[in-house]
Amino acid sequence: MNFSIYDFTSFINWIDNSLNSYMSPGWAILVELVILGLVFIAFYAVIGLYLVLAERKVCALIQNRFGPNRVGPIGMFQTIADLIKLLMKELIYIKHADTFLFNIAPFIVIIASFMAIAALPFAKGLHAIDLNIGIFYMIAVSSLGVIGILISGWSSNNKYSLIGAIRSGAQVISYELSVGLALLSIVIFSGTLQLSGIVESQANGWWIIKGHIPAIISFIIFLTTCTAETNRGPFDLAEAESELTAGFHTEYSGIKFAFFFLAEYMNMFILAALAATVFLGGWMPFHIAGWEGMNNVMDYIPPVIWFFGKTVVVILIIMWFKWTFPRIRIDQILTLEWKYLLPLNLMNIVLIAFIVLMGWYIK
């Protein structure tokens, strides 16, 4: 069996075959599901913890401070200590809350992001499920997360929570449209909804380069709208700490609060990974036609590194947004979406359809 870090298909097939040779197909599927679940939970824990640390470090850099630097070398273990603290904290019981909905809300938020991450292709052959409607599926399941935020705000029986939840709902429902339309523009270019197909279509160049001006417009729209989708600054009205204490998760404590926190960061990761996959070529290396020497060097870097490298760049841009822009008002947020981004997006899609029809993009 020859495994390579450039193509995981043989490795996944080897796991599948060896499991099937030990047990019946039904059990093999069950074991595979359990393995997949454990891998993703571990992935969530690691990525979530280090995204929080990265956020604090980026914030510190922008505000000209050190940031966490006491626990471990350059504060590497700070968030692990925070996690242990959160796990030990008491889960406060709210007397006049709707207990059932109050308890179920963090799980809805985290399940929605868990469903979305399943469709992401991390490298060639390295994805949990390769649906032929990949992008559409991701848009569909990521729209479920807002339900958790809405019911958490209502069931807390707290006016700050309720205002935060309603703001978040209005914002997410509006920006969902632009996220979908911005992704649709690349679907028009590549002619497929399958995420692995979209990555394959970028073998000779990323869509942001091949699709030139319209692709760059939709990339900027996508970055703006996915910042709003994840309720991050400058669109963090749902938890505006200066006016709503903590918005929809005011009443949550301990591990339930940690779930909201984790889901927020994981949603940011998923949307950044989606941006990297759709606009920046996913795990495809950077190629320039004709420069064989450079292309070979680029091919030598494993696809997983390409994927995470691009995702990290997008994440850093989103963090940079948060710490440099002031928070905007709710009416400004809704005006931005309905009066500017949505018409711009629709016109952009018509333009892209025209460009694809005339063949005016780099093939």
Binding site: G26, I29, L30, H96, A97, D98, F100, L101, I104, L131, N132, I133, F136, Y137, I139, A140, V141, S143, L144, V146, I147, L150, I151, G153, W154, S155, N157, L162, A165, I166, G169, A170, I173, E176, G191, T192, L193
Partner: protein, 168 residues
């Protein structure tokens, strides 16, 4: 029992139990969440049938769209301490009777349909074909209903704005 069957019974059980809870719950937001579980489990059935397109439509439209709208309107209109009263006995009786009748009609028509098992491999769902048919004016084209529905939705939206503005 095969894994497929276990999955089917699990999803069907979820749908049955939470449908019942949806209509019997006396707290309106809980009813909406039970409805959400029913709709997500239904999309799970479509996933089981390898018809991912319909499953994703079910998730976007019903779970992500309609349920969010329902929850949003509940958030704006009702308070957490509000609880619906038990319906009058006559109403409950009439409701149960209508339910049984509807269930009977549905069962009767399903039982009448000759489901013939086939050994052919499942067809690939071709997104391009779905798109072509949706915007086609020729045979099997859905362009006209598509446009009529969008005009209807536009009219509904304008009407909603007019009602919300009240006199101004």
């Amino acid at each position: 029992m095969e894994l497929n069957q276990i999955m089917f019974f699990l999803l069907a059980g979820l749908i049955l139990i939470f449908s019942l809870l949806t209509i019997t719950s006396r707290m309106i937001l809980r009813a909406a969440i039970y409805l959400l579980i029913v709709l997500v489990a239904t999309s799970g059935l479509y996933f089981m049938l390898n018809f991912e397109f319909i499953a994703a439509i079910q998730l976007t439209l019903y779970a992500g769209g309609i349920v969010v709208l329902i929850i949003f309107s509940i958030l704006l209109t009702s308070h957490i301490s509000h609880k619906f009263e038990q319906p009058a006995v006559a109403n409950a009786f009439a409701g149960i009777l209508t339910g049984i009748l509807g269930c009977g009609v549905a069962l009767w028509s399903i039982m009448k349909f000759p489901f013939t098992p086939t050994t052919q491999p499942p067809l690939e769902v071709n997104m391009k074909q779905i798109g072509m048919h949706l915007l086609n004016t020729g045979n099997y084209g859905y362009a006209l209903p598509f446009e009529v529905i969008s005009v209807l939705l536009l009219a509904a939206m304008i009407a909603a704005i007019v009602i919300a503005k009240k006199g101004n």
